[in-house]
Symmetry: D2
Subunit: 478 residues, 4 copies
């Protein structure tokens, strides 16, 4: 079990642009990466396509660290670009795993950016290695590049090659491919990760979230369908639907936490979906109180929903320090105890003497919740009723979201009552599994709730196996 | 007039600690600077006092840029420390103007950190120069260091020297002085800038805002009184009240914008004061609408107050990108037009078809407001009613807040009706001068409203004059 | 012709260690890279093998820029390491071309470091691409990795795979391969580039030059033979000599310029070889003069030889600024004119009134020589007789040395008399082709003199062809 | 004694330019700093004077680290500039001690750059402090700024103020002052440190060494006389000679080590002076040998002189790694042992079987010499006869050269015979005190030989006293 969890989980944001209107592909990719930064903060990159010659830059760090004026300028310009930001486990945070991944093959230069997790990756890698393939990274993106390249040898076009490669790739992917003349977007047949199409005059963009489409001044056109291959070239946009047919099984955690509130996924506003979660919580876990407040920023929308549905006033009782970011570096025991305080502070006059409904998006180990509750009580809160806008985490995610190891998940070790006692609240309520799949009423999609239910839309038996070559000496090698 | 505005305006945060409990003076100053970062983002510094030997580091940049692990470690440790962050005009943003400013004089090593503006600075500098003084910076802090040092020659203690220097310094200051054995806090006789005292066991801290006191785990004790000199040494805390007697004339802009919502100034919660502003706005400028929302983050509290008082639901309709920070660098015309969009994005599903009350803290030139309103209309807002939680800016501030030059202030060039038309709102309402001085009912303080009213609590006739030596060749120099 | 010259020329230094004596593989590689820095200053890297798990770091820049304490520590430790430094053309100076190049294949992790130039690279790449291979760089090292990996599928050991790959690789290579359990060194059948073996107790090192062997405290054992494969593992050192049999055709420019004077190649001290060049020059181009001096540093050894052979006193007349390094950045016209002056300065009192023999290693375009001569004359030199310790450059090098394009070589456009007139000397003499191959009398090796003679020991007909995919749009790609 | 040695020793390079010919003052200062870098490698700076408004930048680090394109551009342009590089003790290496030091006083903006050591610094500082002065650094430059500024109050010009200040400053100084309209150079009455004047068309430069004059394309005009004040302004150059009259007592260590060989000081070429030292050594300490070689780079010139005088052939037997610079960072015991080997390597074929005369400029502790000798013997040298181009170090320098503490000087603990035995040479010879003062025959100057003889041209009784405030708690301070 633990072995499987060591697999590289990647939460990512992808962006692609085919520019017919002088939007500026580098500037657009750069702005879009800022709009997608919340999806991956370990590494990022941009690849630019100038009539088939691809320039790229990628490195560990935030967009603001990696891309300075000079680096952006050196990327030149072109008709297409890809952008990518990535969150990976400590182990996978190496420069060579950063994307977009540029490479050359028999038909020219290409670049790939992916958000997802290929479940049969190890099998595919081993088969390729048996044919002499070499790998420079441990990223699925490189594996996909190999798979497409092999198919390209016998396919009449890059899109056909991708279509054929999809027959062999089993797993989750929202994938962008930039060939010399085409920008191609692909979503796996179950559509676990989002991928949307935007348009500005005669130009197209593809992005993990609509917030990135907004950021470049384009408007949302439609989502890429589960299984669809979207091809954008000088003739405009067309698609291959050979792998389509199934409903989207969107990762419900996109609504809970991953996506930005201003994004719209599968037709549903993330902001409204979160308000809805709060409404469900108000219905299922009502309580008499004076104030509803969220743990900023991710709990605010559901708190608003709870307030509206319950009639209890909404307010602000915690302030988040916006300068801390990823820069906090002191690492003494004493400072760790202070860590929550430097990131969050109670607004004492807002909570003193009040009975508070505190809404958060989820609970993992419970330690942060415990400290926040303590902070509110010290600031004079009379009662604290915690409401969580998702069901308890109990199972691993094999599809790219990095949840803690099962044995550290507080919900695997305690009953809800025990959890409430541990974190020091008066009452505690979670969103039910029944409710969470109803937050996007208008969408005609289903949801993957694996991390909450243990029921997965894909066979995860072989997921996450790692190569023996990632360990020290094994047999038969020289 | 313009000449005066060229004076260096400094908005700052100051912090000092006298540590009797092994809190760690460097760690504390570092955390406090994060909690005060909103008060000054151009430069920052820390000075540590180890039994009379002062080590310090200061540079241009954010706390997270200037202080890395290694720099903090090299500061060593001691019983006292000062911290400072500064916002200055482009001209004054030089390393030598950063604080705390360390120096040596006849009685040993010292350091000074100040938030304020000395109105008779030029006169005092010229007098000192006539006696042979040299200056390494254009900062008031250096001037104050000279003034105290001169007085120290004939005073029996550092606190007496400060007390005597106050007779000659005319203006605004919340000042911290660290002598070999003492930590001293001073507030000008009208108390225009805040300065609070915190306590943790046997240790004391002094800070511009209570949020910084919270950040180091101490609790708020009381504000330094206008004109008070607070001395902390091995005998604890005592004070000199020779310059006390007048009520605080606190800068009301501290409540409008400068201070953090979780701070408490002169007994009033900033958060609640801002809610109050919203309540006043609801009373004075009512409107029929579907949703009240703030321009994040600074308009949110007043929006909440407006919503509560008006009964119109509160909601979120704009999302702020938390990764942009100060790192956005593209500077093409095209990008500038996009600038608001990359920082803020409308949540279309939250505003579509709605009549919106949009609350912001203030309007300077009006261009940002114009773009936000346009963004909301493009997202489908039916009506936009703007409410501003302060009166119109019409006058310069001579006391440290950097308001734009009078001729660029939209309120100096247009009627309120014209402004509303320019920025494209259906209705526009400002907080009245009468109301703004009532946001802190419980406080027994008065307010400086100079930037709104043109009425100042200090004589500003000579304020802001600059030395002829800051210009190219003048007469009589070789 | 020009097309061919656009090929990536790589001058490199390689280093490998198999450590049985706790020498410290990272420290050793780091020190060796300093000793090899003169062979490549554009990028560098180190790869460490810890029981089959390879950690590596490589980047653009000098060793002192790329490797800081923290980076070295993060490499961990192990029993083997490779080091590499590279000089490439502007075009090839990309991070992905830096070496050692780590990768994974069917038998585990590997790393490769190479000095050379594969002449049939394009053919081999195209064949591999036709089989589905993808490339992440334009480096021969990656191509070699592919070739070895393919052979490994049908070979019983890594050394056999290398041996088989050598049948297909046509060109120049001094190659190091680090497999999970073995350190392997290979030299092409003509041995155009040097590669030496060192020993320290039970440990072995392989390096481009003996100076690197000295730098880690080991002693020189012997050169790798042309065509030899040297395998070092837990059983010690053994070799495969299937491709041996031909005499070394060492690049003579290694003696002229590339190698460090303290290195010994093919049994000949570089320092003594350069003195010998000076002796030949004295014999062939005698002149009456007062002082012999070198253009520092590369002309000094030959100047010493000239002085000894001619009886004219040796001296120093030019001082080289040792702080300029690669850091000189001003790029105005005016500064370029000053460029020689800031790097070199005449010692006027040493040259005034003297008849000078000025010895340099080679002349490319002649502009630098012209400025140096002018500087000496301005400092009062009465006569300047230039002696060049190599024949005139007239032909391209296809084997890794980056000589200027033929049409810019002064010797292709002028007679020796005209050159002398252009650079302003009284007399000018070059080393003859006959002499240069006699600088290493004791060696039983031949020399490649291609750049001087146009006669190459390998068929260069197809050398340097570049892929059509390195240019913008060509036919048939999508 | 030890207390005195803790005083800040500063070896520095200074440069000033008054540009009437569009030479570019920033570019010139930048180039000159490269030419003076050997005189101080801890910090550096440039100050530019644009019609009385001074811009400056200074920081810790080498010229190549501190000044990048952007920093140079931000300095703007003007008619005058100062440049400075500094070597200080670990303690004084703080950014605030870097020069040129800019400041403002009653007559405008100024900047100061100094090379020297004020012996009565503490007395002067204490007197100033008693009058209320404050200090931001521990640098003599700041003290001098105060002294001049005080005098300026009652003097009719800046040059008169400097002249009057000289009455009170006791010690060593080669000082540059840049006032709004004048560039002024000053040398102390004994002229212990060099200062030369250069000219290019109608422009003037002042520099510590003539190599810096050469570097900007100007020609040497003359040295500033001991005690002379040279004033350059729109009327050209004039001087005040009130403090003139004594012969120069130049620090003889300038010839031994400090200065660049291509510089000319007091009419004598440093290069020729060093050759002369070698000639004296050959005369006083003859030996039968096969090869004379220097420890590079500083021993080479004297080695040449020894070779010429003795008739023994000159050669190269040690190679210095030019990439190590100041960047070597590994700090393990093992690496320290290797430290000499990575910096220097023996050219075995040049020394094997030979009887060698090894010439170095000086011996401090002897450990480096010991390692070099060992390295030569391991490379096969038959005999090693060491010759040192200076007398043994036995006394402290109070005038700016940082010699080790007396108890660590090998010559204070051993006889010359014992030293020879310790470092492992066959014979050892030092230059005599008699000879060293004769290396500059043509000069009409005397020499300070304090570090060798203990006889100083100035009273050093009070030299080097440090303020009690530099230590932890002393009496009477608060």
């Amino acid at each position: 079990m633990q072995d499987m969890l060591d697999k590289i989980h990647e939460e990512c944001g992808v962006f692609g642009i085919y520019d017919n209107d002088d939007m500026g592909v580098v500037e657009s990719a750069y702005m879009a990466l800022y709009a997608l930064q919340h999806r991956g903060q370990e590494s990022c990159g941009i690849a630019v396509n100038d009539d088939g010659v691809i320039s790229s830059y990628r490195d560990l760090g935030l967009v603001s660290d990696v891309f300075k004026q000079e680096t952006l300028e050196r990327l030149g310009n072109g008709k297409m670009a890809l952008g990518h930001c990535l969150y990976g486990t400590a182990e996978s945070n190496k420069r060579e795993n950063a994307q977009p991944m540029p490479f050359r093959h028999v038909k020219g230069q290409m670049a790939i950016a992916n958000n997802g997790s290929i479940l049969n990756a190890l099998d595919l890698r081993e088969k390729l290695e048996m044919q002499g393939a070499i790998f420079h990274s441990t990223s699925d993106a490189e594996l996909i590049a190999h798979m497409i390249t092999r198919e390209r040898l016998t396919s009449k076009s890059i899109e056909d090659a991708i279509c054929n490669a999809m027959d062999k790739l089993y797993g989750v992917y929202s994938l962008l491919v930039m060939s010399p003349r085409k920008l191609i977007g692909v979503r796996d047949p179950l559509g676990l990760r989002p991928l949307s199409i935007g348009k500005y005059k005669d130009s197209y963009v593809l992005a993990s979230e609509t917030s990135a489409i907004d950021s470049v001044g384009a408007h949302f056109l439609r989502d890429v369908k589960p299984g669809e291959i979207v091809i954008i070239d000088e003739n405009g946009l067309r698609s291959i639907e050979k792998h389509c047919g199934q409903k989207s099984h969107l990762c419900v955690f996109e609504f809970v936490y991953n996506a930005r509130p201003d994004s719209v996924i599968e037709g549903t506003s993330v902001h409204l979906a979160r308000q809805k979660m709060g409404e469900f919580l108000a219905k299922d876990h009502p309580v008499e109180a004076d104030l509803v407040m969220g743990v900023p920023d991710s709990g605010n929308d559901a708190a608003l929903g709870y307030a509206n549905a319950s009639g209890i006033p909404y307010g602000t009782g915690l302030l988040k320090n916006k300068y801390i970011g990823r820069t906090f570096i002191l690492n003494t025991q004493k400072q760790r105890e202070n860590a929550v305080r430097i990131k969050l502070n109670a607004i004492a006059d807002a909570v003193r003497g009040k009975r508070i409904v505190l809404v958060d998006d989820s609970i993992v180990r419970g330690t942060t919740s415990m400290r926040i509750v303590k902070m509110l009580r010290e600031a004079g809160a009379r009662e604290v009723h915690m409401r969580i806008a998702s069901p308890p985490f109990r199972y691993p995610c094999y599809f790219g979201t990095d949840i803690d190891s099962p044995e550290r998940l507080i919900a695997n070790n305690m009953t809800i009552e025990e959890i409430g006692h541990k974190i020091g609240v008066d009452t505690l309520g979670f969103l039910s599994l029944e409710d969470i799949v109803n937050v996007a009423e208008k969408s005609d999609c289903e949801f993957c709730t694996g991390c909450f239910s243990g029921v997965y839309p894909l066979n995860v038996e072989n997921a996450g196996k790692v190569s023996k070559f990632d360990r020290k000496f094994s047999e038969n090698i020289d």
